[in-house]
Structures are given as structure tokens and as C-alpha cells.
Amino acid sequence: MTAILEILGLRKKDYADYAQTSKGQFFDFPGGVHPPENKKQSSEIEIRELPLPEILVLPLGMHIGAPAKPLVKVGDRVMKGQCIAQAQGFISAHVHAPASGTVQAIELKPIAHQSGLDDVCVVIATDPTSTEIEFMAALNPDEVEPQVLMNRIHDAGINGLGGAGFPTNVKVSAKRPIQTYILNAVECEPYITADDRLMRERANEIVQGIQIVQRIVSPERTLIGIEDNKPEAIKALRTAIAEMQLVSTKDATIDVIVVPTKYPSGGEKQLIQNLTNKQVPKGKLSADIGVLCMNVGTVYAVQRAVYVGEPLISRITTLTGDAMGERGNVEVLIGTPISHVLNVANASSNELSRLVMGGPMMGFTLNSSDVPIVKTTNCIIAGTAQELPQPPQEQSCIRCGECEEACPASLLPQQLYWHSKHREFEKAESLNLIDCIECGACAFVCPSHIPLVQYYRYAKGEVRNIQAEAIKADKARERFELRKERLEREQAEKEARRKARLEKAKQKKAAGGQDSQQDSKVKALKKSMLAASQEYKNTVKAYKAADADGADNAEALRLAMEAAKAKAAEAKEAVRQANAGERASEMTELEKKQKQLVDMAINNKVLAAALKEIDANEEREDSDKSEEKTAKEAELKALQEQMLALKSEVKLLKAQDKAAANKESDVNNVNAKLDVNLKLAKAEAARAQKVFKEAKKALEAATKSGADNLDVLEQQVAKLKQVAGSELSKMMDLQKQMKESKS
């Protein structure tokens, strides 16, 4: 069959014999495509080092998981190998300084990401004169415990260098036993030769790295999956393994399995299927079926971390593309700006039309060359417009089925396309849209040039949005229903209270007796009040008339008027009290307090008005005035304080009422209580703060005017400050509690 394919020109026969795949060792996987490889342009040149760039830009999220937390400040001096940002949480990785220098900035900078978004980066101005190095101590992997090796991987900030950048220490510390450890040396993307070159030149180190991982996870077997288009790397690996096994006493073997060149055989899931004939079930990890997959570059980094003590501060990256002047592979410091790389490699900025990070099938275009090389950057393609032309206009899908033949995940790409295009996301989901690995094989073969992957990404995003919306809507509905329930209950309670009052009034009327006695008392009081006010009015009239006439008895009339006024006020007060007494028996505590508050507010206004009046009254003596004024001010202040206290009491009562009402709803109970307490605490804190501030102001005023009771005042202020502080901390505690309970 192979011979026929070769004759038909469907299969190239330029691979040496030892690279021949041997059937029975691999199982193949469905689909796949054969894009032009374009690897020779960079694979035949030795790895070279790049000169030190002036600055290094280190994003804190180069791995999957939580971003690292910076340990350095702007202006700090850092040494090569020093940990500058610490892993946060379980899935995270450290970041180290790739070269000595000074921290220039910690700020948002554009990074290489599909989204084109910025991320927090530590910018280091490098110091070319410095030779300081802060590496960890070298370890002998055979003499230390596996846990030590695992910690070392964590300390070295290693994450997967091949794809998504999953922290390696998390991978190797999987709880499940690993039967098969697979080294992914496939490198199936066109153009990229970083792993190829690394294997050719540093095969021994890679094998040592494999042995370190073997010691940690103790797999039953170890396989290296590699495509048959890398004969020299295969040879180098086999030689290194043979040498290693001569000196090693361990019986763990490493098998190099050569697989046919086919994109995307380097996809983790595809490689696992190809080598073990097992599929990673949907929603599970490879560890769940006892497989651990690791990239060549990652293993090399592990070897460096253990044998040299060097953290992950550099990697091998392929520089290629027709606009790249000097192609090949470079050992580049993490954080090196791509503009620096392009400069050194003499890239032609005139010809450069598309700058791709990663391979041409799954890599993403960069908007600018200012972004840095990160831990996962395996390739930079500086493509010309001829090499990577603009795609032709999208034509109609003719359902030819090429995409289905190419799909390595056995999906139905054209159906997914129809549904994605017509926004039938549920249908797309039911056709397992989420299992699409976005390898681009379908879009590559599409004769109508439909950007299928773009449609799938869009649909996936929409599906995620819809799911998020659904969750949000559910929560909102729950909240709304609880609120409605509460309002209805409150309404019902109010109604019940109203009815009760009505009933009581009726009873009162019916009973007559004692109640009517009280009623009549009030009525009598009212009558006397009216009479008193009438009398007062009369006296006022009389006085005014007498005054105008200049009568002799004006003064006497004035006195009478004053007396009448006092009497009227007294009568009024009596009525008011009687009324209050009557109503008080019906009022709840809250209502009483509210009433009181209203009264106080009126008083407050009255006092304030009086103060103003005093100020306005120019005729009076100054000393008199100030005396009265201070007295009134003090009164006003006291009243205000009382009011504040009362207000918070009212709030407390209200909140208690609310809490009591909420008790029935289980979901919000705890939160609501906390909420209430928090609100109370907030009010309390605000009040304390206000009091403290006022006191402070008073103190300042006193200091200015040189009063003698300064120390007392100071003490008071200090005390108030303390109170305010403690209230504030109480409130913060509550806030924290609230957050916890919510999460």
C-alpha cells in the first residue's frame, strides 16, 4: 500500500530506513492532513544563542492557572535565576529572572495571547556586565526522594513548553497511578523544528530528564512518540537511550515509537490514541486513564532544573518564515521582546506581513512585535504575503465531506459549521462542538475556504456565554422570587396589623367604659386647650390694640398675654401627651422610636432656627448672645447625638424585623443576617467616625484659641479614635465573614 501511495506521489519517500514506522507499535487515529512541512528551512541549522536584550518582559501568567504574585518591587536589583514572582494556588508556576538587572516596572503590557489583551508583566532592565547567578543546588536524582524532585520542578517554575503551559509539577503529582509515560516528540506542526533540533543536539539530557520523571511517577512503560520525518532525532534518541541503559542499573526501559507524519499527531489526545489505542474520555484528563504526556522541551527543562539547578529561564524557539533573515533555532531567554529577536535575525520588516507565534496550523497572529517570548513560545513565523496569503473569499459549502475526513476528533465539521453559522448553538453542542480541538485540519482542506475554526471558536464562546447567562438568570429569578415573597408577607403583616387596630377601635367603641372615659378625658383636655388658645388670641388682640393706642394698661395686658400663651402651650402639651399615651399602647417599639425620632428632628429644626435667629439679632448684647448661643449649640449637639443613637437603634430594630421576616427563607438567611449586622456595623462605624471627626475639629479649634483643657480634649479624641477604629475593624470582620459565606 505504501509503495502504491509513493508511486502516486501521495507519500514522500525521503526518510531513512531507521525512521521507518513499524506496524503494530502504533494504532493510528482517524482524520489528519498533510500540509507542506517547511521544516528543512530551520531544521538543518545548529541552535544558536541570542545576544542579551536590553529589557526582558516577564508576564506573570505564562502558564495555565493563577498568575504568579510578584516578589520584587520597582527598582529592585535581581539576579539571574532569582525567583521574582511566586506561584499562587495549586495550579500556578513561579517566574524567575532570566538575567541579572534592575526591575524597571511592574505594569500592564501587551502579551502574546490570542485575545490581544494586556497582562501584568515584570520588566527587567538587563545588566550586561553582571555575572551574578542565583541557581538552586544541583541534585543527584538517584539519591533524593521523588518528592524532592517534584518540589524542584515546582521551584524551577516549569510548565509544559509544548502547548497550553500546564504546570508540570501538578502533572507529575497526579494522584492516580501512571501506567504509560509518553514523551511527545512528534512536533507535527509545519515549520516548527525546536524539538527536533533539541533532540538532535541534547539527546542525553532529554533521556536524563525522562529518567527523572520516571523516578517520580514510576510508570510501567515509557514511550517516545516521534514522527518519521525526524530521522536524525530518532537516531540521536536511540543512541542516547542505548548508552544510558549500558551505564544504568535501572530496568525501566524507554521505547522510541515512530509514527507516520500526519498533522495533528502531536495533539496530546491524538498521540495517546496513536500509541496506546485508548481515548481520553470526554471531560477527563489523560491521568484518568493512567497516561502522562510531556513535551520534549519540558523534559529538558526538568533535567536542567535537577542536574544544574537552573530554573526555567530560557527555551529553544524556531525562527522561520520567508521574511526571517536568518532562520534556525535559538536558545532564547524567556521575556525577550520579539522585536529584539526579529532584529537579531535580520527579519525584513518590508516583507513581513503576518507574524505568527506557534505553528501555521494552530498558532496565532501577533498585533505587534513588542510582545515577549514566553515559556510556551515554540516558534515565531515571520511570513511574507506570498507565503501566508490572505485567504480567498469564502464560498458556499458544497458538503463535500473533506472536513469530516480530516477531523481527528471524529466530529462532523460541516454540520457544526451550519449550526454555528445559523446560531443554532444547542444543535452544535449536541454534535459535541466542545470536543473540537481547533487543530484547523478541516479549515485547511476546505475547498470553499471557509474559516471553519473561527466559526467554532465563535460558537464555543457563545455557548459559554449562554451557559453563564443561564446561571445568572437562575440566580436572579431566585432572588426576585424571594423578594416577592418577602414583600407579600410584609404587606400581609401590615394588613393584619391594620385590621387588628380597626378591630380594637371597634371594641373600644363597643365597650365604652374605661376607654370612653379616657376618650372623654382627652376631649376635655382638647376643649381646655382650645379655650386657652382662644384666650391667648384675645389677649394678643387686646394688647395690640392697647399698644397702638398707647394705653396705660399695655404693660399689664402684655403680661396677661404671656400668661395666656403659657397656659395655651401647657394645654396643648397635655393634649399631646394624652394622645401619645393613647397611641403608645398600640405602637410597637419601632414605631415609638420612629415617632420619637420625628419629634427630635422637629426639635432639632427648632433649635437650629433659634440659633440662626440669635445670629441674626444684632440688637442684643454680644456677650449675652454668645452665652446663649453656646448653650443652644450644646443643646443642639446633644440632640443630634441622641438622634444618631436613636437612628441606629431604629435601624437595628428595622433590621431585626427584617431578619425575623427573612428567617423563613433558608437560602438567604445567613447572608441576610450578616448583611444586617454589616449594615449596622457600617452605620456604627460611620457614626463613631463622625463623632471622632467632630471632636478632632473641636480640639483643633481649641488648640487655635489656646484653651486650657487641651489635654482632656486630647484624651477624649484619642478615645473616640479608638472607638472608631474598633468599629471599623468590626465592620471589616463582618465583611470578610460575609464574603466567605457568599463564596
Binding site: 502516486l8 492532513v33 507542506p36 509545519p190 489526545k269 490514541q273 489505542n277 485508548k278 481515548q279 481520553v280 474520555p281 470526554k282 471531560g283 520588516s349 518590508n350 513581513l352 506581513s353 503576518r354 505568527v356 501555521p360 496550523m361 494552530m362 498558532g363 496565532f364 497572529t365 501577533l366 498585533n367 505587534s368 501566508l388 490572505q390 485567504p391 480567498p392 473569499q393 464560498q395 458556499s396 459549502c397 458544497i398 458538503r399 463535500c400 465531506g401 473533506e402 469530516e404 476528533a409 471524529s410 466530529l411 462532523l412 460541516q414 459535541n432 470536543d435 484547523g440 479549515a443 485547511f444 476546505c446 475547498p447 470553499s448 475556504h449 474559516p451 475554526v453 473561527q454 471558536r457
Partner: protein, 343 residues
């Protein structure tokens, strides 16, 4: 330096839809040559009328649908429809029959459903079936497929009626025989065989071999996959082989089944129309086999002599159901039973 910002992949296969279509047209060349040799210029007039009217209707519909005319004409799908209809008809057919067939195919079969890729039915077969059941007399008037006989038709002068008069003037061909078109020629040929009219039978074998050759070109160029042609032939030939084995039929009928009528044209050029076919590999196998079997049934017991067109249209309706039941198992969705088998 303005950098292009595009979604991956950044590579494209050289494959293009208009080229796929063009290759399909080119692959009909051997069959065209044989038909021309057998029936003469009447084949050419058929083709020209069909192709130009297909382009005309396509352009008209694109204009009416406010689509870019030239961009969609370039995809060559109208050309394919025209060529297939042109080759399927009896030679020197009156022009209006062809125009009606092509018009129905392009307007009703394709654009009213939303254009290329949206049509549930094979447009060429829709047009063909429309005129087959509407103008039965004209559709079964074949000149004798004598070697070189057709060439006489080219002589417009002389005592015989000219080709152009037949096509455009409504004249009947004097030496036409009434026979089935080769999309439904099977029982006629079979009858001829029993009458030892070997010459006529041989003519159909030549046509079929030519279509087979074109079909192999398509497979080689990966314009189509083997699934549909192979399953179609299996569906057609397996039952007759069973009948032969059981003694219900003569061994020659196998050759007749395989190389008469529209067998090979259907297998490689009609049933394979991807737009109206099933999607998945398994679906395509089922789809092709079903069509083959229906053709066998129509040929053996049906009222129409052949029936590729009917079989195709019938199975077009069944495609959504086939697609539903033949979804491939996506990666990571392996069912529990196959897992058990592994462990």
C-alpha cells in the same frame, strides 16, 4: 508595518471548490467522446444548449437574489448541472426541452432552496425527471446508436432532415428509433440482447466504460471518495449476483446491470453529488447502497426501464434521517461496551 491579524490555521490546501467542479466536468470527457462518436453532433447541441442555459438561469437567479453574479458563476456548479443534463439526454433533443429541464434544475432545484449547498435534491436529476415524465415521447426518441451513424446528421443539406432543423425547427428525425434514454435503457438493451442485436448493446457498454474511466479519474484526483460509487455498485450488483446464484437470472445479466443504462454515470457523477448526499462515511455507504438497490428494483420489476434519477431523488429525501443515525462517535465518547472489549 501593518501586520495581518487572522484566526488560525494560516495554511490552506490548494483545493478549491471551482476546481473540484471543473475536474468533474473534465472527467466526463471520455464519455463525451464516446457519445459523440456514437451519436454525432446531436450530443454537442445538447451540451451547448444545456450549459449556456444553465449559465443564463444561474446568472438570472443570482441577480434576482442580489448576489455577486460573477463570484458565484465562477464556482462552476452551474456548469456541472448543465453538463450532466446535457449528457443524460437523447441526442438532438428539441432545444426547449433542454431549457425547461435546466431551468427547473437551476431555479427550483437549487436557488429556491438558497443556492449551492442548500438544495436537498440533486438539481440535475430534478430537471431530468421533470421532462422525462412530461415529454415521454421526445425523451425516448433515440437515433440508432450505430457506429458513425450520427455523423450523417451533420449534413444539413441533402434529403435527410438536418440536425439544426431537428433541434430548433421541431422536425422529427427520420431514422430515429423509439428507445429508452440511457438513464432508463436497461430492459430495452436486455431485449436487444435476446434478439442478438449485439451492436446496440455494445454501444452502451462503451459509454459505460468511458464513464467508468472518468470516474476513476475522479477517485484519483480525490474529487470524490470511493464510498458512494462502491456502495452504489454493490447495492445494484449484489442482488443480481444472488439471483444468478439462485438460478433466477442468466449470468449475462450481471454484465448488463453493470454496463448498461446509466450505471456508471450514476455511480460516479450523479449519486456522488455531495450536496444532496449523506455526510458521514457510514452514511454515504448506506446512501449509495440504498440507491443501487432501488435502481435494481426499478430495473427488475418497475414500470420505468431504468430509474437512477428516481432512486437518487428518493434517497435525497432520506438523507437527513441517514445523517442522524450515522453520526460518527466523537473522540472520548467511546461507549461503555467497546471499552469493555478493550479491557
Amino acid at each position: 508595518m501593518a501586520l495581518v491579524h487572522l484566526s488560525s490555521p494560516h495554511l490552506e490546501n490548494e483545493n478549491a471548490t471551482n476546481q473540484v467542479m471543473l475536474k468533474l466536468v473534465l472527467a466526463t470527457l471520455p464519455a463525451f467522446a464516446v457519445l459523440f462518436y456514437l451519436f454525432g453532433w446531436g450530443v454537442v447541441t445538447n451540451l451547448l444548449i444545456a450549459v449556456f442555459s444553465a449559465w443564463g438561469f444561474e446568472a438570472l437567479m443570482l441577480k434576482l437574489r442580489k448576489k455577486p453574479v460573477w463570484f458565484y458563476l465562477k464556482d462552476n456548479s452551474a456548469l456541472v448541472t448543465g453538463v450532466l443534463i446535457g449528457l443524460a439526454f437523447p441526442p438532438a433533443l428539441p432545444w426547449w426541452i433542454i431549457v425547461v429541464a435546466v431551468g427547473f434544475a437551476v431555479i427550483f432545484g437549487k436557488h429556491l432552496y438558497g443556492g449551492l449547498g442548500q438544495n436537498p435534491f440533486n438539481p440535475a436529476m430534478l430537471g431530468y425527471v421533470l421532462v422525462l415524465i412530461s415529454f415521454t415521447a421526445e425523451m425516448s426518441r433515440w437515433i440508432g446508436p450505430g457506429l458513425g451513424m450520427g455523423f450523417e446528421l451533420t449534413l444539413v443539406s441533402g434529403d435527410s432532415v438536418g440536425l439544426l432543423q431537428t433541434v430548433f425547427g421541431g422536425q422529427l428525425m427520420p431514422d430515429a428509433i423509439t428507445a429508452a434514454t440511457y438513464l432508463d435503457t436497461y430492459p430495452t438493451a436486455f431485449a436487444d440482447l435476446t434478439q442478438k442485436s449485439v451492436q446496440q448493446t455494445n454501444a452502451w457498454v462503451y459509454v459505460n466504460v468511458a464513464f467508468l474511466a472518468g470516474g476513476l479519474l475522479l477517485l484519483w484526483q480525490r474529487v470524490t471518495t470511493w464510498h458512494i460509487p462502491a456502495s452504489f455498485l454493490a447495492g445494484l450488483l449484489a442482488p443480481i449476483m444472488v439471483m444468478i446464484a439462485l438460478g433466477y437470472s442468466e449470468p449475462q445479466s450481471l454484465i448488463l446491470m453493470a454496463f448498461s443504462g446509466a450505471t456508471m454515470m450514476g455511480a460516479f457523477f450523479i449519486v456522488t453529488d455531495p450536496v444532496s448526499a449523506a455526510t458521514s462515511k457510514h452514511g454515504r455507504l448506506l446512501y449509495g447502497f440504498s440507491i443501487g438497490f432501488i435502481v435494481f428494483v426499478i430495473r427488475q420489476w418497475g414500470g420505468y426501464p431504468d430509474g437512477v434519477a428516481f432512486a437518487v431523488l428518493l434517497m435525497n429525501i432520506a438523507v437527513p434521517a441517514i445523517d442522524y443515525f450515522t453520526r460518527p462517535t466523537a473522540y472520548g465518547h467511546v461507549s461503555a461496551k467497546s471499552k469493555k472489549g478493550e479491557s
